[in-house]
């Protein structure tokens, strides 16, 4: 065991961190998301804000509340699965594998937790698409200010992301040996992480300079949304690099027994960044919903 820590101590840490993952991602965040959607639907109904719900049919609010209940039920089920996993581990006498590999159950469980949020993201994307298709305004507005990356995130954070990436590559290749013949695994690992960061950069550019997702959104609200997304991606890039370094260090210093802990903490970090920054930066309570009111003739007050 690493650092002469008792096996029971490692187990206790593993269970505690995994419990944190279960409740943070499948209980706390779904609760916040449901509250956010309910706030919008209850305070800005389709009857008064038709542009927000271009595909609203009869009993729209009742349908939404039903779907929110389903989302809650599914996440409660996922919590139960997580607790059953812990029960099985306790009952089955689970012992952390000193050679590593146990983090796979953490990752697979995270994919299960992530699935309902993926469905929500797809629905949101379809909602925006419907809004763009229904957009018939003749008056179009734009801000005459050039947008740059540093309008939305501090340069230090971007520098930290680049630095962490560079440090990780340097550390990883040092461990693999500069004078060694690198196997396929090295190229795949470096290639995938580099590709991930390039994808993040592309997404950021898309949100900075691309078409509006929501054609009605007020400029200041759009800025807040873009700020949230840029921060999420920059902090995620830092997270990937740090996690990769920790994973390599765990192998180097015989800390493989902690692999499930490190992986779970990284998943929770991703969720905190992805969800926490979004709801903290782009608060719906501060959004201007008057842009979604029916204006009669497109672009003119009703």
């Amino acid at each position: 065991m690493p650092f002469n820590m008792s096996e029971n101590a490692v187990l206790a840490i593993t269970y505690a961190v995994f419990l944190g993952q279960i409740f943070l991602i499948s209980h706390y965040f779904p609760k916040r998301l449901i509250a956010r959607v309910r706030y919008v639907v209850d305070n800005f109904p389709a009857s008064d804000y038709p542009k927000l719900y271009p595909n609203a049919g009869p009993n729209f609010e009742a349908n939404i509340h039903r779907k929110l209940k389903l989302f809650k039920t599914v996440n409660n089920g996922i919590v139960l699965v997580g607790l059953l996993i812990i029960a099985a581990m306790l009952g089955g006498g689970y012992r952390p594998d000193p050679m590593g590999g146990d983090e796979l159950f953490v990752m697979f469980y995270f994919f299960l937790q992530f699935f309902p949020f993926l469905i929500v993201a797809i629905k949101e994307h379809k909602q925006y698409k419907a809004m763009r298709q229904a957009f018939k305004e003749v008056r179009r507005t734009a801000d005459l200010k050039a947008r740059t990356l540093f309008d939305y995130v501090h340069p230090a954070a971007v520098f930290a992301a680049v630095l962490c990436f560079g440090l990780w590559i340097f550390y990883y290749l040092s461990v693999k040996g500069w004078d060694q013949t690198w196997g396929e695994e090295v190229y795949i690992t470096v290639g995938m992480t580099t590709a991930m960061n390039l994808i993040y950069a592309w997404i950021i550019a898309r949100f900075l300079y691309g078409k509006k997702l929501d054609p009605y959104q007020a400029s200041k609200d759009r800025m807040k949304t873009v700020e949230a997304i840029v921060k999420v991606l920059v902090y995620s890039s830092i997270g990937i690099s740090l996690f990769n370094m920790i994973a390599v260090a765990a192998d180097e210093y015989a800390l493989e027994a902690f692999d499930p802990v490190f992986t779970s903490l990284y998943m929770q970090y991703c969720a905190l960044i992805g969800f926490g920054v979004m709801i903290g930066t782009a608060k719906v309570e501060d959004f201007d919903f008057s842009v979604y009111r029916d204006t009669g003739k497109a672009g003119e007050p009703a």
């Binding site: 003749v138 179009r140 507005t141 734009a142 801000d143 005459l144 050039a146 947008r147 509006k212």
Partner: protein, 129 residues
């Protein structure tokens, strides 16, 4: 500084865009030296074709209201406030009006003036060359 265009208006979109940028400069919403959005950013924000915005920027640069500095982007010209009062189209009309007036004073017919104007525009050899 927000600008507004109306896609249903009779005035061409690039002309509306030029007018809005000049209005923003005149009202002090943007100042000489301020960076303007890229063509792509403005086209996407207004849901216009890139070429419409590019044409507006090209004409504003011709009129020395904005200046493009390569990869660094587009900026409000240092003398924008003085330059934007100059209406090039009005100046062209005035020059042609003056030339036509002089030709008529000399006895040239409208047909002769039209033929000479067309030849000059097409870079064809004119009488006397």
């Amino acid at each position: 500084m927000e600008i507004v265009i109306d896609i249903d208006a009779e005035e061409p979109l690039f002309a509306q865009l030029m007018a809005e940028i000049k209005r923003a400069i005149g009202s002090g919403g943007i100042s000489p030296g301020d960076a303007l959005p890229s063509i792509r950013q403005l086209a996407n924000d207004l849901n216009l074709n890139n070429k419409t915005v590019a044409k507006a920027y090209q004409l504003l640069e011709r009129d020395k209201v904005i200046v493009t500095k390569g990869y660094r982007g587009t900026f409000v010209h240092p003398d924008a406030r003085d330059n934007m009062d100059f209406d090039l189209n009005a100046w062209v009309s005035a020059q042609i009006n003056q030339a036509i007036g002089a030709c008529r004073d000399k006895g040239a017919t409208d047909s002769e003036i039209r033929i000479a104007f067309a030849n000059i525009m097409q870079n064809k050899p004119t009488a006397g060359e």
